[in-house]
């Protein structure tokens, strides 16, 4: 087990606790950067899709994982991001202006609806956000001149400084673009969580009454968290639009909202890493099931493809299994494995038993 001797407060403030940690992040980023040379176009497109989902997952994680606000309407912010970006680019704006504008539009809209909505919590907030989603969906259909209505809209091809970042013509470039944006947002998110703003999010999540007693404006903090959350999701929506190419309102269904909620829950609530692990699982699982099914067909001659809904059922059962057996999510499981490895052979079964909460009161809330 590594023991880190801290010699200054900076070692607690820095993003990485020690050099090996820093090296690990650098290696991971390096590996992600050279991925186009290692895998074919099919897997590169899958990786791009996973990164976009991780970005959307990070957006939702800010609200659900770090501020305790459950949202069932985040597909609405994906939609706002995608349509704003596409509409602005169709109007002639370059991508480097349209993308931030898409994030800003989604973020401002999120903060705006958050001001009345954040007074609610738990299931009531979830229902309110679901209602917002329905309104946005209807608006998308009604605003036909901008959004293309039911017919849909084309996300223009991205060209930056004469270089094409088109999703089909230059997939490698598009992948790097997405990777860069995701890395940047991850860095900002990690910064946020080590700063006073991030701590105020956690404070609001864990105890509203003492957050107030410490001088934290709970309503403003929640609105800020929800705004940031929908802004990041809006960025993901814009990229999703470019990835799909041509889309209409059906791309952003309520199923997408639920899948996003699964990303953060199965990934591990309250951790940035969880958003990535959850995204890998959610985007990778259907592919994995399809590969396994084809394998069974080829090797044993059993055609499982003929059974309707089998993929969805297996997928759902895996998700249910996760929620029952690993509520801390994939990242929580990974932390346990890491401690087990670090302390080998001294790990005990009950090292991770759930801690009791003492005398928790709901009285003053």
């Amino acid at each position: 087990m590594r023991v880190v001797f801290k010699t200054s407060y900076d070692s607690d403030i820095d993003l990485h606790e020690h050099g090996a940690d820093r090296l690990r992040t650098a290696l991971l980023l390096g590996l992600m950067a050279i991925l186009p040379f290692l895998v074919g176009d099919y897997y590169l497109a899958e990786a791009t899709n996973t990164l976009i989902w991780a970005l959307a997952g990070m957006g939702l994680m800010i609200a659900v994982g770090h501020t305790g606000q459950v949202s069932l309407g985040h597909a609405a912010f994906l939609a706002i991001g995608a349509y704003t970006d596409a509409a602005l680019m169709n109007a002639g704006l370059p991508f480097y202006l349209a993308l931030p504008a898409a994030g800003l539009a989604a973020g401002l809209f999120g903060a705006l609806i958050a001001i009345p909505a954040v007074r609610m919590s738990g299931i009531y907030l979830a229902i309110a956000t679901l209602a917002v989603f329905v309104i946005v969906e209807e608006l998308v259909i009604m605003l036909e001149p901008i959004t293309g209505g039911v017919g849909g809209i084309m996300a223009p091809s991205i060209t930056l400084f004469g270089v094409s970042f088109d999703r089909y013509a230059a997939l490698t470039n598009f992948y790097w673009l997405v990777l860069g944006i995701v890395a940047l947002v991850t860095w900002g998110y990690a910064n946020l969580m080590r700063s006073p703003t991030g701590r105020s999010f956690l404070a609001v999540r864990d105890s509203e009454v003492s957050a107030r007693a410490l001088g934290i404006n709970v309503t403003r903090t929640r609105a800020l968290a929800f705004g940031l959350s929908s802004g990041v999701t809006g960025l993901a929506g814009a990229l999703m639009g470019h990835f799909i190419g041509f889309f209409n309102y059906e791309l952003f269904s309520v199923i997408i909202s639920i899948n996003l909620l699964l990303v953060v829950t199965i990934g591990g609530l309250g951790s940035i890493q969880g958003a990535f692990l959850g995204a890998i699982l959610i985007t990778g699982m259907p592919q994995l099931i399809a590969i396994l099914r084809d394998g069974v067909n080829a090797n044993f001659g059993i055609d499982l493809g003929g059974i309707p809904g089998l993929d969805t059922m297996v997928f759902s059962m895996i998700l249910i299994g996760f929620i029952i057996f690993e509520p801390a999510g994939l990242y929580g499981r990974w932390r346990k494995i890491r401690v087990w490895l670090e302390t080998f052979p001294l790990a005990r079964r009950d090292m991770f038993r759930r801690h009791k909460t003492y005398l928790k009161t709901e009285r003053m809330k």
């Binding site: 403030i13 956690l202 864990d206 957050a211 410490l214 001088g215």
Partner: protein, 255 residues
């Protein structure tokens, strides 16, 4: 002029008069205790001062300023810190982070600066940390610095909550039953800390407490309340000898 002046304070929940016409003033540098039987309205008075409840009538003045119209989150900025009877810590954070959350009123960075983590943010973080380390040293919490609250024993959580209140850097600290659920040794430690807060930090302490040995040991003046109404105000010995106080705790003898 007194640091805290409470004048004819009352709060009614429907027909229940939880607090009904309580007046007292706390002098700067004083340890002032509020005692009374269960349901007397002691914690309600605290919740009125920290603006969680809206008073039906009366006023609260702090440092010469009327705070009755302020919001709950404006109170800490004035220099009033508090603890809760049933520990309200941030369970899924470390002791260090809990204490750092107490520095919220001293932050000057915006969320955009935080996201970019500008050098200014780092400078402020170091500064917060220095203040928090002083509190950690004062309360001897070094061993728990990086421990999650959820895994800590009850006695330590009580101390962390006092620490979080001290991290605000307050003028007045409201302690809601600091000794409840603590062992005799732990209670004695709390008594020493309260004395140190007053002597070394120049703090004014207002506390609600049931443990009479603690009240006798540290407090200058005591206010006894029952059924939301004040019974007696004076030195600990005088208040305990007061016939109304005895009657409230033990009941009156049958005539």
């Amino acid at each position: 002029m007194s640091l805290l002046e409470v004048n004819d304070l009352a709060v009614h929940f429907g027909g229940v008069k939880a607090v009904d016409g309580v007046s007292f003033s706390v002098e700067s540098g004083e340890v002032f205790a509020i005692i009374g039987p269960n349901g007397a309205g002691k914690s309600t008075i605290f919740n009125l001062i920290s603006r969680i409840y809206e008073p039906t009538r009366g006023s609260i003045r702090f440092d010469g300023r009327d705070i009755t119209g302020l919001k709950a989150h404006d109170i800490a900025k004035l220099g009033i810190a508090r603890t809760f009877q049933n520990i309200e810590l941030f369970d899924h954070s470390t002791v260090l982070d809990n204490l750092l959350m107490g520095r919220h009123t001293h932050r000057s960075t915006s969320f955009v600066e935080d996201i970019l983590f500008l050098p200014k943010v780092r400078r402020e973080e170091r500064d917060h940390r220095r203040h928090v380390e002083e509190v950690i040293e004062f309360l001897e919490l070094e061993a728990y610095r990086n421990k999650m609250i959820a895994g800590l024993p009850y006695g330590v959580r009580k101390v962390v909550e006092i620490g979080r209140a001290l991290s605000i850097g307050p003028k007045l600290i409201l302690l809601d039953e600091p000794a409840s659920g603590l062992s005799v040794e732990e209670t004695r430690e709390v008594a020493f800390w309260i004395e140190d807060m007053r002597r070394d930090m120049g703090l004014t302490v207002l506390m609600v407490e049931h443990d009479m040995s603690l009240v006798n040991q540290v407090s200058d003046r005591v206010l006894a309340v029952a059924n939301g109404r004040p019974l007696a105000l004076g030195s600990p010995a005088d208040v305990q000898a007061h016939p109304d106080v005895k009657a409230a705790y033990l009941g009156t003898e049958a005539a």
